[in-house]
Symmetry: C2
Subunit: 200 residues, 2 copies
Amino acid sequence: MPEQPSGRRERKKAATRQKIADTALRLFLERGYDAVGIRDVAAEADVAVTTVFAHFASKEALVFERDADFEQRLARAVTDRAPGESLVAALRREIHALVRHCLADDAAPAWHMIDTSPALREYEGAMRLRHAEALATALADEPGPPRSDTVRRAIARFVVDAFALARDADDPQAAVDDIFRMIEAAWEAADTGVRVPLSG
Amino acid sequence: MPEQPSGRRERKKAATRQKIADTALRLFLERGYDAVGIRDVAAEADVAVTTVFAHFASKEALVFERDADFEQRLARAVTDRAPGESLVAALRREIHALVRHCLADDAAPAWHMIDTSPALREYEGAMRLRHAEALATALADEPGPPRSDTVRRAIARFVVDAFALARDADDPQAAVDDIFRMIEAAWEAADTGVRVPLSG
DNA sequence: ACCGTAACACTAACCGTTAGTTTAAATAAA
DNA sequence: TTTATTTAAACTAACGGTTAGTGTTACGGT
């Protein structure tokens, strides 16, 4: 049981993983996602095909290596927000930041690739659903009137929807504001006239 | 150019398609989705593997054969509603009906299979996104204050989210009502204080 | 120095999916 | 009817992502 995981093994493993991810992204951007096979990636990174899948669950996962913290960022935007800030405001701020981040010049080519590949879009959608579930869980610890599980999961979905739609919009930042105006109204409406769930 | 496509060819083709779909669903329910290969389906239906893919775009599509009208039902709920009925009310009624439909005794086993298979859940998610886009398009012809493309697509997503979440909830019908209370508020909030898009 | 184990290589396959080609039946044209 | 055109479907072979099985090596704790 390595208390301090600072061994040579871990470093080599991390290096291998990094090399695979970098090589994959480079090849994908150079030749196109569909034109590059896993066997190509493995050969170029000088590892075995099985090693690629030892580090990444699927070909698509290679693309989203860099945005692995999306889920944590959403949850922390809720839990670590300033005392005065409202829940919805904190989420809007975070979505603004995330949209800005993936529209930055260095990330833009990768996102263009994602947008033009059906396989990657589908994978991203499934990813966002998982993120929404994590956000819904984080919402459970919120103060205020108790909200049902359904309401929390709905709000969480709306938030990730906002991210997806804003990326497509002509004016992404304005789109975030438009959608969050709706989310705020939805969040407030969830309070009024709701029966609290019978059990719990 | 056959004006009346009532030839023997079309009938045989439809019969083959039906036989494949029926056989596939039966095998999937009997042995489990992952335990049945396309080659099994083809053999049992007494057709070639290529014939299966001539009728269905993917293995997952075999499962959703019966719910192919989901997209049209959403769009028609909007366009064909009674003159007095509000947009949101019409959508809520349709989602209620759709949830009830897929919770009926004969459809329940298939939906349980979908819920327990990651591949099928992912496919369904991508499907619903397409349906949301279609609904957003149908929303463009609505009377009332002009709403931006972003607002329409957001509402459309919220609606299909309602369907997905209600299916998971303990009390599906109540969940639909809870979420639509939020959607209604969101829809109304989209009017207030919005700048109309600059072009158009 | 020793041994357990984690990381990786290699082979060979499985499965969904597609391309290319061919057969045969239904329909249209002669 | 006979011929020609169309088209559903068969067959063969492969491609590409993914996994199982099996070693081999090098690190790390003792």
